[in-house]
Structures are given as C-alpha cells and as structure tokens.
C-alpha cells in the first residue's frame, strides 16, 4: 500500500524484518501461490497462517491482504468471523473443553468451572504467566465418550472435574506438549 501513513509503515517495517528471518512466511507464500493469489483462497490462506504461527497478528493479516489484493478490513472481518481463527497468541499449554450437547448434559460445564477456579483463568483466556489457555469448543464429535476435553490436543474421555484437573496438572508438569497418537484434531490438519 503506497499511502504514506505511520501505522502502515510500522507494519511494513515489521513485516519485512519477519520476511527476511522467519521461514514460516515461505510456507504461507506457497499456499497463496497455490490459489494464484486469488481472493477466494482467503480462508485457506488464513488456515495456513494460523497453523504456522498459532495465531493471526496484524503484520500477518496485512501481508495476506497485500498479497491477495484485498481490503484490510475485509481480511480482518473474515478472520474475526470464524471461531477457528484467533488474533491472540495461545498459552504454552491448552485445555480445550467440549461443550457440545452430549458433553454438556453429562457435566462438561463442571469441568470448565473447576479449571477456571483452580487456575484463575476465564474461558477463552490465558493465564498471566502464559502457561495455560482454557478454551471451549462446541462438539469435537466424540459424543460417545462424553464429557471430553483436549489436553494439549490429547483427547481425555469420560471426564469429571477431578480427573480433568489431574490431567491439566500433569500437562503443566510435563513441560512441552506431549505428542502421541491422539494428536489434536486441531493440530493434525495436514495438507
């Protein structure tokens, strides 16, 4: 964008610094190229960006808008319309509690309450030390094992408040997110 403007030149400077150092923008470039930089690829491109960076921040959105020749506000509008995208970085660990109907009527809300109280973190937020994000989803499609939650992407089934808290504590103790077969549906998106 050639409009002289403080905010935009800041974004552009930050972006060129990142483009030079951060390899993840190369992956993003490949995805945009696959859609021939056309606007109908916007959501796929946002997916790719979120998968690479974990969240969508201003310089990234600015980059995508510029490359796809889309209005800035449209890109922001699309990114904030869909729940899957987040503009804020997540904590080191995530506890995603399902509140689909089956989980809800089997007590999923009590799990949310327990984690919320123990770690003083509201649904959708991250603890101040950046260790834990508590998130809520509407149905992960594992209703037969309700109530369920994903601890760093690993599905915990037939939970109650106590077992859920144990899983969260274990996850925080272990340091790095554990990788196992039960990788999160969220992490597992492959292309």
């Amino acid at each position: 964008m050639s409009v002289a403007n403080g905010k935009v030149s800041q974004l552009a400077a930050e972006l060129s610094r990142r483009l030079a150092t951060d390899k993840r923008y190369k992956i993003l470039e490949a995805v945009m190229r696959r859609y021939d930089y056309r606007s109908h690829g916007l959501i796929e491109v946002l997916h790719a960006a979120q998968d690479s960076f974990g969240y969508l921040d201003e310089p990234t959105l600015y980059h995508i808008a510029a490359k796809l020749h889309l209005p800035l506000s449209k890109v922001l509008g699309v990114a904030t319309f869909y729940n899957y995208f987040t503009l804020k970085p997540q904590g080191k660990h995530t506890c995603v509690v399902c509140l689909g109907t089956a989980c809800y009527i089997k007590g999923g809300d009590r799990i949310v309450e327990a984690v919320q109280q123990r770690y003083h973190v509201k649904p959708g937020a991250t603890t101040p030390d950046g260790e834990l994000s508590l998130l809520i989803v509407r149905c992960v499609g594992s209703c037969s094992a309700a109530p369920v939650a994903l601890f760093d992407g690993v599905l915990g089934t037939h939970l109650d408040a106590d077992t859920a808290l144990q899983r969260v504590a274990a996850m925080l103790r272990e340091g790095l997110p554990e990788q196992s077969n039960g990788k999160t549906p969220v992490q597992e998106v492959e292309r």
């Binding site: 905010k7 974004l11 201003e58 506000s73 449209k74 922001l76 904030t80």
Partner: protein, 237 residues
C-alpha cells in the same frame, strides 16, 4: 417488459427486473425500510420490509424479492405490524439509543420508524453494552452505541467510494463496524475522508465532528445521485 401485480389490493404495474419495494415505491405505497438505501446494493438484513406474498409460506423481504406477474402482496397486515414493532423494540434495547442526547435527534431513520410504528416503549430489558466512540478522525466520529449494524456505511464505502475502509468485525451481537485492521479511524491508511459513510448512516452512529444534539443532518440522496452519475453517466439533480 411491464408486469402487473397487486399490492394491498391495488393493481400496480412494474418492470420485470423490479423488486417488490421498487414497485411499491413507484406506486406510492410505503414499506418501512432501514438497511435499504437507494444507490446501494440490498442485503435483506433489517427485516422491516418483510411482506406477505400469496402462495409463499414465508415472509419475503420486499427489497430483494423480484416481482412476478400476478403476484399478490400485502405490506401492512396486523401480523406484519406486530413483527415490526418487536423488531424496532429489539433494536432500541440492543445498544444505547438515547434520542435526547443524540446528534441525529429529529433526523434519525430509526427514530422516525419507531414513531411510524407507534412504539411507546421497549418491552425488552435494555442490554446496556459497554461500547466506545471513535473520535480520532479529524472530521467525523463513529459512535458504536448508536450503530444498528445495517452496514449501509460499509456498502457505501465499498460500492460507491471504492475504498472499502469499513467492514464488520466479529459476528452476532458482538459484531462492530471496523476501519482497516482495527486501527483508529484517524489513522486509517485507506480512508479518503469522502464522508459517504456519514451520508449513508440512518442513525447518529456516524456524524460530523462538532455537531451537537439534533444538529446532525445529512443528504442521503447524494449516494444515489453519485451512483447513477458514475454508472449510467446521468446526472439527476
């Protein structure tokens, strides 16, 4: 090609490509609207222009429904009046609409509509959301408290000015009008300060800086003038 239809028992002649709203307006029949503005595309969002069409089990928005030969339309039944009253009450309770301190008092389409629909109060609890006002632009202001999300400003900015500075952020009750990447309006790199969004606004949400209570008047017909001039090279004053 001319078509004939019946609106409120009156025979009306209209062009093939006309909407029910257009046909009614041409025949001098009033249908209440809020998200519609001549010169902008129609989105069918506010639902005030819903009408009853014989043979359809659903109510149809007059602004987007094309006429058909022999169509029988009712625009002002008891049922429709009841629904419209609920809709305007919902709108008043949704954000912080206080006419007494509003720049658009007396020039507000939402206010006129409430009067026209005979609204005396809202049966719904006021939600009193905590919303901000963006006064960073040197000439204009955006008060989210008075915004009804009709998106006329978004369409004016995109379709007529072409800048697409404005769009909608988020969704549902949490949706807001946003400039560019969410920066203050005054810092927008794309806004041309043309003021078309302000012309389009039906309420006091978008206003000229410096206007005080009831001072904010605007010429909404300018947008249709511009569109016809730009697209058809016709200057209709």
């Amino acid at each position: 090609m001319a078509r004939t239809l019946t609106i409120n028992g009156q025979m009306v002649s209209a062009r093939d490509e006309d909407t029910i709203l257009r046909a009614a307006q041409d025949a001098g029949i009033h249908i209440p609207v809020l998200c519609h503005l001549d010169g902008l595309s129609d989105v069918g969002a506010c639902r005030f222009c819903l009408v009853e069409v014989a043979g359809s089990n659903r109510l149809l928005p007059a602004c987007t429904t094309r006429i058909q030969e022999g169509m029988v339309v009712q625009t002002d039944t008891e049922q429709l009046r009841n629904y419209r009253r609920h809709l305007i009450e919902l709108l008043f309770a949704e954000r912080n609409h206080v006419c007494a301190v509003c720049v658009a008092n007396g020039n507000c389409e939402m206010q006129s509509l409430a009067i026209q629909l005979g609204m005396t109060h809202s049966r719904y609890d006021y939600m009193f959301p905590s919303l901000g006002v963006d006064l960073s632009h040197e000439r204009f202001g955006l008060d989210h408290n008075r915004c009804i999300m009709c998106t006329r400003c978004v369409r004016a900015c995109d379709e007529i000015e072409g800048a697409h500075t404005l769009d909608v952020f988020g969704r549902g009750a949490k949706a807001r009008i946003v400039t560019d990447l969410g920066m203050p309006w005054g810092e927008s790199p794309t806004c041309t300060s043309c003021g078309k969004c302000v012309m389009a606004c039906p309420t006091g949400a978008l206003f000229k800086q410096g206007s005080t209570v009831a001072e904010m008047t605007r010429d909404r017909s300018k947008l249709n003038f511009l569109k016809t001039a730009r697209e058809e090279r016709k200057w209709i004053v």
